[in-house]
Amino acid sequence: MGFKINSIRNDFPVLSTKVNGKQLVYLDNGATTHKPMQVIDRISNYYMTENSNVHRASYNLSHIATDLFENSRKFIANFINAASYREIIFTKGTTESVNLVASGFSDIITEGDEIIITVMEHHSNFVPWQQLCKKNKATLRFLSVLKDGTIDLSELLAMINSKTKLISITHISNVLGTINPVKKISEIAHNNGVPVFVDGAQAIAHANVDVSEIDCDFYCFSGHKAYGPMGIGVLYGKEEWLNRLSPYQYGGEMISSVNFKSTTFNELPYKFEAGTPNVAGALGLERSLRYIQDIGLDNIFKYEDDLLQYATKKFENIKGVMIIGNAKSKIPVISLNIEGLHPYDIGILLDQMGIAIRTGNHCAQPLMEALELPGTLRVSMALYNTKEEIDLFADALMKAIDMLT
């Protein structure tokens, strides 16, 4: 199937919104993506015809909902090439997934241990480890980011040692767009007996995610950044690792039996799913991944890379504009620094012109500190964006620069 941008755009109702009388140009997909009608309808249809609590009941409606829910889990396992549905835990999103694993590791990390992350992590993959290290008197170490926005594996080789208990790294930087070599990192880590956690928030909709190929021990992502609903996400974990971690929250299906003295917990994946699960969310997420699959991952990557190349060339030629992050391997996320101007001022003027981009630190304050920038202007594209939108953005940017100087 070819890539039919017009028919794709028609799937996303938000894209026809007007802002201040102008057509919306949405370039903040790193923050959240819009949802195709297929996903919106899936959620509505669930609530209209299939809604029920899952797992515990012995009536038909509940069996249907349970099957749908468990089939979503299996679909997702397959989509990221996990070994089994037992390795797929439904969470609220990336942030909860990281916190769940950090909580589990609080039994494992002891005084003097080390955890390695990078300087480019999103706060959600930074602060949970920082707080864990603080609580358990361990040391958090940081891989630095090179000028081009990549990390240096030789620094990792030098940093990893017998005290290292975990490496956690983002698959793709939400600020720089850099695709990190997570497969190589897993290899280095495993050669040293260290498990690897990968934050896939920015990867799931824009890159190939194959957890068996990467061979990471944990992987996670959010539905809302992959054309799916809010309030749902996934934690993947190798069974042996998930079995080692204690439950995170208590109540509901994660319980096998309770008495006044003690509780026994359910098997994977239920052990980590406390409370009534977000069934509509799981079905919506399945639908959004099917949407991606139907268009074809390769078609999407090719189209998005085309946008990236086009935009990069265009932005490079605007006076005073510098692209922050020039890795060879990138998704269409471009951070800009405008000489002498504050990103906030630009953002406000761009909004006037109907353009939605993000300015600021992008929940990556440590990276900003390392780059010595107050923030950037981030353009983050998705499969429904067009070269015309890039042009509109570039024109508006020049106008804004003009007004401010």
Partner: protein, 141 residues
């Protein structure tokens, strides 16, 4: 002039521009003209939290009135501050404390500069009021 009168004057001043670009151009001009805060006050303790850009605010008590100086690293923010200062500076603490500052809504800039939303502007107005109160209480003693 009372705070109310000063606010109304600003709304009128902006009313002559009917295009958002002109309004913003004017605001940016005001931002560039903002008399800058004394460098020694541009430190952590004068930073207002909750703004996307950095804002430093200082207040003095002169002749029973509060006098503000401020700066920001973003010029539109400076424009807004300059309006706030024009309205609030050199006024009596109790008048500052009891006023609302919705005039910025009435200027007709875009809604995201509105002080009724949770944004940096809210923090700014709040901090200006806090200074007024603190200076007043200190003077009372």
């Amino acid at each position: 002039m009372t705070i109310k009168e000063k606010s109304e004057a600003i709304v009128e001043e902006f009313a002559i521009f009917d295009d958002w670009m002109d309004k913003y151009a004017h605001l940016i001009e005001l931002g560039k003209e903002l008399p800058i805060i004394d460098e020694k006050y541009k430190d952590e303790s004068h930073l207002i939290s909750g703004c996307q850009s950095r804002v430093w605010l200082h207040a003095d008590y002169v002749n029973d009135n509060v006098v503000y100086t401020a700066d920001s690293d973003a010029v539109i923010t400076k424009g807004i501050i300059s309006l706030l200062i024009r309205v609030m500076s050199d006024a009596n603490p109790s008048e500052i404390y009891s006023s609302d500052f919705t005039f910025i809504d009435d200027i007709g800039l875009s809604t995201h500069l509105s002080p009724t939303r949770a944004n940096g502007l809210v923090s700014m107005v709040k901090q200006m009021k806090l200074y007024a109160k603190a200076l007043y209480l200190r003077a009372e003693k």
